[in-house]
Amino acid sequence: MSLIEIKDLKVHYPIRSGFWNRVTDSVKAVDGITFNIEAGETYGLVGESGSGKSTTGKSVVGLEKVTSGSILYQGKDITQRRNRQLLDYNRDVQMIFQDSLSSLNPRKRIEDIIAEPLRNFEHLTKDQEKLRVLQLLDIVGLDADALYKYPHQFSGGQRQRIGVARAVATNPKLIIADEPVSALDLSVQAQVLNFMKKIQRDFGISYLFISHDLGVVRHMCTNIAIMNRGRLVEVGTRDDIYNHPLHIYTKRLLAAIPDVNVSERAAHRAMRQKVEQIYQSNRHDYYDDTGEAYPLVQVSPTHSVALPPELAHQLLAQESEAQD
């Protein structure tokens, strides 16, 4: 059984207008997505800004009110608040936020910030609690003298480590990492990602890794889902997505990865233009009449894509031809 099962999750925000302020339409931030996260894996959720990936993450951790669909954890639907409380759900599912500064309370000392989940979920003595906080600081590579300081006294990378330490404090099974490194510079990104991996090995944590940076996702994730306008357009393993992309949106995302090799600049440019041209001329094949993505069809045991079945198999055949 999977650690967590997300079934047909929908998060719609109502648009009110007119004299009576009635609901006239809705923004479909997340529009019927289904995927499972296995224990110990890193599941990547990729998409452009506004594609609904953060909303999905917030729904899974219980911060967002879900319109319909279910999220099953230990056989219980945790979209209901009562079930979350019964399970002590957030003891097992924690979150790392994108903005490390605003996710740490500026009026609290580091000790109180990291100890917050411990105080709510585990009833430790004062000494045990302080020892645990010190160990957590050590695990994320910070010195003990951080204990009585305030968040604004740390650099971005250090603050993100504190955010990770807080998320790990109760030894959770799943951590939602909502673009954890996109606000950091590259050298610090690598540090934070590497110790996130180390923590994963040491404590057997699963991540739901939300990002728009395909390079980072390739480094971190075993399974990846591509999200576009609230729907999943392609789901597969790292190899499926990076080496055998089928949906035009995935291809466009991959084409957008910058390459620093100057000698092949012209070739990359031609490749990007080709993808863009396919997108412009064949857009109607990839999206339905309303401009939404199609339902997912499975093309291999691990690989699914949101296309009409005929087109999917046709593309798959082309793809394998190109490989040979």
Binding site: N90, V93, F97, S102, N120, K130, L131, L134, D138
Partner: protein, 316 residues
Amino acid sequence: MAENFAQHSNISAADLDRLTREAQAEATPSTARIIWNEFKADRPALISLFVVVGFILFVMVGALFIDTPKMMETNIVNYFNRPLTAGFPLGADAGGRSILLELIVGSRNSIGIALGLTVISSTFGICWGLISGYFSGYVDWGMQRVYDFMMMLPMTMMIIVLVTIIPHYNAVTLTLIFSIFYWEGTSRLIRSRTLAESGKDYAAASLTSGTNRWKIIFRDIMPNISSLIIVDTTLSFAENIGVETGLSYLGFGLPSQTPSLGTMIANANDPNNITQYWWTWLPAALEIIILCLAISYIGQVLRRAADASQRQGTAD
């Protein structure tokens, strides 16, 4: 699970004391320390602090030793005694009552009302604003309609009417009547900041850390808007001294046999008093000016202490 953490970290219980000491040596100064440094850097504000605190303590304690009914007895012999005559350092009024003693008891009454009013109305306004801003949705909608309704009532008229229809009112009932009407400004101010604060990630992080919503409101969000709260409360205290004074001046505040700063300033209604018997109203007027100025100095220091970029005090 504890073993799990111990296994992956080099820190064990034996290091606890040493590391705690190290951390304390590096600790950031507390808020109280920062505020005190800020006062030390600003001489006028420090003097203001001593003046305000000293004066309030003096009138509160001093008034305990004064027999008010006896003091308020009319004694025609001392009719408009000039200042610095025997037994009357600040002179006497038309009833032959000592201005100094009236000033002490009157200040006690006026400041007491202002303090009570500030405590009650600010507490209520802050809670109202925090709850309304944090919960949003229907709760916010309902609470804001109550607010709109209260704002719509003509405040001074309502107070005058209430004071007239309540048979035996005194300082306590007057404070309560004022409190009904003076929480709105604070609540709107606090609500707007709460809306901004509750959208920040740390509030969400507290929620996922399993913290109760009420605890998030009062332990996470309230400390973060404390600078606003402190400044607003200080300034509304200065303002509230004026509220009672103004109404007493109009004759609808405290009953006339109870001395207050307002009733003393009301002496200036008589043109004779303004020109000839200036000592009947001038001390009270000066006192209000000095108090309000000093309090606003203190408010400025508190605001600077709350905002790191404006600080002038140096940490020692």
